[in-house]
């Protein structure tokens, strides 16, 4: 039990009258990559939003390292070591690359540490270093994704929530992003909860996976098992 970093239990979330999550329970252990897969509208993003505090659940609890964080505001959750890279990158378009990274380090007060972290990000994404004074909005989609991940790493989060990091990227970049997700997980020991449309690749790098369908978890198992599961292969890996 003690190695469970993030514990989500029986979560119910609504958008107005839309019942988007109908009792979701997810556990993420320290150092794991756990993936949430499912069709469009299944509630994957909603799950992440509820964990990070953007959305308040009607019922259920979110526990971080034994502390109940249900209903906390996003900045309070962030201060506890959770970084959420939402769907669609959400780079600040009118801030430069450098300023975007600085925003990622909002909770870091040590200036030297911020510089070191920036260097780490530039080592992961050398492309960003050349663009430090460019406005975020003028970056290409792939560069924005790199910046979004880099920005989330500025605080050295304990838990990283990634929402479709491969969306809209060229295959070569998708591979790079997945490599880097693994690298962050291995080298920095970051626990990762990964939402992906690209279920095959997600399951390949994940320890465990959860399958969501219309707001409910219909399957949950080791990633290797899910990869071999008939229903998963049919529904999410595009096999007939």
């Amino acid at each position: 039990m003690s190695d469970i970093v993030l514990h989500v239990e029986n979560l119910h979330s609504y958008y107005g009258h839309i019942h988007a999550l109908k009792g979701i329970s997810v556990d993420v252990k320290k150092g794991e990559i756990v993936t949430l897969i499912g069709t469009n509208g299944a509630g994957k993003s909603t799950t992440l939003r509820t964990i990070s505090g953007v959305l308040r659940p009607k019922r259920g609890t979110v526990t971080l390292k034994g502390q109940n964080i249900t209903g906390m505001r996003p900045h309070e959750v962030a201060a506890l070591g959770v970084s959420h890279v939402p769907e669609g990158r959400r780079i600040f378009p009118q801030l430069t690359v450098m300023e975007n990274l600085d925003m990622g380090a909002w909770n870091v007060s040590d200036k030297k540490l911020i510089e070191t972290r920036k260097e780490e990000v530039f080592t992961l994404f050398p492309r960003l270093r050349e663009r430090i004074n460019q406005l975020g909005g003028t970056l290409s989609g792939g560069e924005q994704q790199m910046l979004a991940i880099g920005r989330a790493l500025m605080t050295r989060p304990e838990v990283l929530l990634l929402d479709e990091p491969s969306m809209g990227l060229a295959p070569v970049l998708v591979e790079l992003i997945f490599d880097i997700i693994q690298k962050i997980n291995k080298e920095q020991g970051t626990t990762i909860l990964l939402v992906e449309q690209n279920a095959l690749m997600a399951l390949e790098i994940a320890t465990r996976g959860y399958v969501l369908q219309t707001g409910e978890i219909v399957m949950n198992n080791d990633a290797k098992v899910l990869l071999k599961d008939e229903r998963v292969r049919k529904a999410y890996l595009g096999e007939e």
Partner: protein, 393 residues
């Protein structure tokens, strides 16, 4: 999976040349550039209007044959420019409040003109208190202005924060019309509250700053340009200096500090800012504080300049400043500054020229000012620098 080489090439940052180094330096970014920008704009606007003024003078000689309009304009030009620039800075400082709040909340705080009024009233109360205690003439005038400024800024700034906390925050997410009507309600409330307050304590609400009792402000500074001497009002100079200093500080806060970066981030994407650890509500509060403080400062400077104010003093400057913000492209800070200067200068020139046409007279200044603005907005609906607004989404 293998890391691909194509995306990792060119890892070295490009070397900056001397020009870029200068541009990145502190002095350039926070002193030379903003002040230079103001100067260039003021110079451009006044040159353009001077040409127009002479053209009018030549095309439509004044009805009174004893007056040669061209000579009159020659004499008045420096005065028109200085009063235009000073009142323009007042409008700019108010317009900043509209634009800052619009930037973070996409909401026009129509009660902002009352923050200006409250600042103006605070300035009066402080100056009167200094006079009543007999220290008005002993204090160093610069120190006194500074003290009045700080008081007006504090009162208006805190009032703006309270306004947001009590009235606007609970309405977030409501249809846009709801906070708008609330703002108008707050506006009426503040006007009546201040009026009642002075009516009870002083038995009148015409508030006359004891400016005249100070030598420094009683006599204008005489500046000789060629053969003509020009009278420049000390209060105009005071407004210009205070405004430039405050605008430089604001530019530094917004573009050079962590707080400013947080405010800009919240303006661009509230949810994302929150996810990165920014306390969004705190940033919104601070935005109101800054906007309110600028409004209050403008009110106090305006009060010193006109001498007598009433609780209704916020309406017209507020309306003009709002127009200035729209003219500059609402949400855009530089736009608010330039929009305010434009209105101030246009107004001063109209005032200067219209006196000589009895059929029109200075009464028409406001109508014509607003007409000019409507014309500009027809051709540039998003304002002078309004491109930013549609880029924001």
């Amino acid at each position: 999976m293998s890391t691909t080489a194509t995306v990792q090439d060119r890892p070295v940052a490009p070397k900056a040349n001397t020009l870029e180094l200068v541009q990145q330096s502190w002095i350039y970014r926070f002193l030379l550039f903003p002040i230079g920008q103001m100067l260039i704009f003021i110079a451009g606007a006044t040159i353009l209007l001077t040409v127009i003024a002479y053209a009018i003078a030549i095309a439509f000689p004044a009805p009174n044959p004893n007056i040669d309009l061209v000579t009159q304009i020659n004499r008045q030009l420096p005065g028109m420019i200085i009063s235009g620039v000073s009142i323009g800075f007042v409008y700019s400082m108010i317009a900043l409040g509209y634009t800052l709040v619009y930037g973070v909340l996409q909401f026009i705080n129509f009660a902002h003109s009352e923050l200006f009024m409250v600042g103006s009233a605070t300035g009066f109360v402080v100056m009167k208190a200094l006079e009543d205690n007999g220290v008005l003439k002993e204090w160093n005038p610069i120190l006194m202005i500074l003290f009045m400024l700080v008081c007006a800024m504090t009162v208006s700034g805190i009032l703006a924060m309270l306004m947001e906390r009590i009235a606007y925050r609970p309405l977030r997410g409501a249809p846009r019309l709801v906070p708008l009507i609330t703002a108008i309600g707050i506006s009426f409330f503040l006007i009546d509250f201040v009026r009642a307050g002075f009516a009870i304590t002083r038995n009148e609400f015409n508030l006359t700053y004891p400016v005249r009792s100070l030598e420094m402000f009683a006599t204008p500074v005489r500046v000789a340009i060629g053969e003509t001497t020009v009278n420049v009002r000390t209060t105009s100079i005071m407004i210009i200096i205070s405004a430039v200093i405050m605008l430089v500080i604001l530019n530094y806060i917004v573009n050079g500090t962590k707080l400013g970066r947080g405010i800009r981030a919240v303006a661009q994407d509230q949810t994302m800012s929150g996810l990165l650890g920014v306390n969004v509500n705190l940033m919104i509060s601070l935005t109101f504080l800054i906007g309110g403080a600028f409004g209050g400062a403008a009110g106090m400077l305006f009060g010193m300049n006109v001498g007598t104010i009433t609780p209704y003093v916020g309406f017209l400057p507020g309306l003009k400043a709002f127009t200035a913000a729209v003219l500059g492209g609402i949400g855009n800070i530089t736009g608010a500054l330039l929009g305010g200067l434009t209105i101030g200068i246009v107004e001063a020139f109209l005032n200067g020229v219209l006196v000589y046409y009895p059929a029109l007279g200075q009464r028409y200044t406001d109508i014509l000012t607003f007409s000019v603005l409507i014309l500009i907005l027809i051709f540039r609906p998003t304002g002078i620098l309004g491109k930013r607004v549609d880029e924001k989404v």
